[in-house]
């Protein structure tokens, strides 16, 4: 298997690098900067780094004020704390007031595996996606998160960016340039479409390999932007393959799976099987074992592909 690279380190370094270029960037953290790795920025630019202590709701409002003053604040803490503890701050003062705040949820999905379900973020995408004006982005690997940082910073408007704690194999090569709202075809195929986001992209590629060995040619789409969805890419894939599987490290309710189901039901109804956490709280354990246990194994993806194909009319 390819070498695993720390996504959070890549994020931290990218933020620091971009911070050197853009003096408008300020960074906030709620006493977890060593974990989120916003500490890289903090060490390089202490005058533009604010550790507000264990106070996530207040941190988001503080960032709103900084944005009103013309800054580009990056707000960092664990994804569950950011999106749940500060949900109303985000909805009212960031999304509705359309302030230029960048919300970065660290330790997305089950990646803080040993801290257990209190620290898992399994409904953050659903919560963020429900809010008008928010752009919702999930990074797949170290390359993607590093490339996304400047793009998110320069996008005029609020963004939620989910980053994983895990060390993950790089899916994207050095020449990859993501674009907000656009997905990437990682592999072409006509039998079924596998749409994946976040660290599940790598597992999905493995599932596609396995399917190929079984004679099924899967198209693999990597989708970092959950909102706004890349309609064209999805509609074309649905039209070509007539069977879709969504793969995400999130509840099967409200996230990528729902977004794709909503779109296709309105525009091109085809079978959509959702791979993700089956609407339950997970438990404590090793990360890969948790993903396997809770419905996000490579086998789960291939099984879903077969189900989707079987339903195809």
């Amino acid at each position: 298997m390819a070498d695993r690279v720390s996504m959070r380190a890549a994020y931290g370094q990218a933020l620091q690098a971009y911070g050197a270029l853009n003096p408008k960037v300020v960074v906030l953290d709620a006493d977890v900067s060593a974990s989120t790795q916003s500490s890289h920025f903090g060490k390089a630019f202490p005058e533009r780094f604010f550790d507000v202590g264990v106070a996530e709701a207040g941190m988001v409002d503080l960032a709103v004020g900084l944005a009103l003053g013309g800054k580009i604040p990056f707000v960092n803490t664990f994804a569950f704390l950011l999106t749940l503890r500060a949900a109303e701050q985000i909805r009212t003062c960031v999304a509705y007031a359309r302030t230029n705040v960048k919300l970065v949820g660290a330790y997305g999905g089950l990646s803080d595996s040993f801290d257990g379900p209190t620290h898992h973020a399994i409904c953050d995408i659903a919560v963020m996606r429900s809010m008008p004006n928010l752009t919702v982005v999930v990074a797949a690997d170290a390359v993607e998160v590093a490339r996304l940082v400047p793009i998110v910073a320069e996008h005029d408007g609020p963004v939620y960016l989910r980053v994983s704690r895990a060390d993950v194999p790089n899916v994207f090569g050095d020449n990859y340039t993501p674009q907000l709202g656009k997905g990437t075809v990682l592999r072409d195929g006509g039998d079924v479409t596998l749409v994946a986001t976040g660290v599940m992209v790598e597992r999905t590629m493995r599932a596609a390999d396995r399917l190929l060995a079984q004679g099924t040619r899967a198209r693999v789409l990597a989708l970092h932007t959950i909102k706004p969805l890349d309609r064209e890419l999805l509609l074309a894939a649905a039209a070509d393959t007539k069977a879709v599987v969504t793969v995400e490290e999130h509840s099967v309710i409200g996230g990528l799976g729902s977004a794709v189901a909503e779109l296709l039901s309105a525009e091109a109804p085809v079978p959509v099987q959702r791979v993700g956490l089956a609407d339950c709280f997970a438990e404590t354990g090793p990360y890969d074992a948790l993903l396997d246990r809770y419905g996000m194994s490579v086998d789960d993806i291939t099984a879903a592909a077969h189900r989707a194909i079987a339903l195809r009319r």
């Binding site: 300020v26 005058e47 533009r48 604010f50 507000v52 202590g53 106070a55 709701a57 207040g58 941190m59 988001v60 409002d61 503080l62 960032a63 709103v64 004020g65 900084l66 944005a67 009103l68 003053g69 013309g70 800054k71 604040p73 109303e88 701050q89 009212t92 003062c93 509705y96 007031a97 359309r98």
Partner: protein, 291 residues
Amino acid sequence: MVYHSDELVAALAERAAQLRRTAIEMIYCAQSGHPGGSLSAADLLTALLFHKMRLDPANPGWPERDRLILSKGHAAPLLYAALAQRGFFPIEELKTLRQLDSRLQGHPDRLKTPGVDMTAGALGHGLAIGAGLALSARLDNQTFRTYVVLGDGELQAGVIWEGALFAAKYHLDNITVIVDLNGVQLDGPVRDIMPIEPIVDKWRSFGWYVIEIHGHNMRQIIDALDEADDIHGQPTVIIAHTTKGKGVSFMENQCTWHGRAPSPEQCQQAICELAVSPDAADAAGPAGGGQ
């Protein structure tokens, strides 16, 4: 401290009375809105918008302007009345409060209303946002000052105390917070709903400089605002003892008038009562309305 003439004080007090009348008319016209907290904050907002703050109504986005965050956003009618009379938008537009396609939303909306610096309405946000703005100003060596007006019931929200810690940690002496301590919230007296006293000691414990005033005494208000300018290395909070529904006999201290529109007769009576010049005794009197 700067000397303020009696003439200025009287003119501001009269302006406040006028804003109160306008706010009541707006709420009557919309048949919806919050009179109690609009009336209690009238003198405070008048002092800010017609005297203290550096503003340019012709240029609402002027980067050097002082900022106002009305955290108790339900007092929007009074804020709108003041902004209109200050020239940010036509006075006729006040009639459109809470109507479809209006720039005057039920609660302040920074994207819709000229002169509104921040969206508000869900209680508790303003202090931390104000701290962020003040921090931003300091980072850019900008000289504008940030004013935040809080309700007293709002002090029950924990995020207020998060913001209080931030402002103290960063020694934000370019923010002035004013608590409209009218002692009454939606469901009843603050002391029954959830006591917040000792309020002065609380703010001091959180590291703030505290000034306590009578919030309907215009001279005390403008003096306190000046005093806050001279405090260095520490954020300042002005605890303004006010009366909910101030100036309308049947609304005063009544939680039922927190968010209710008057009938035609009530509106008429309120306007009549508010037409009387501000009571000199009251303007000079001791703190009375709060807890």
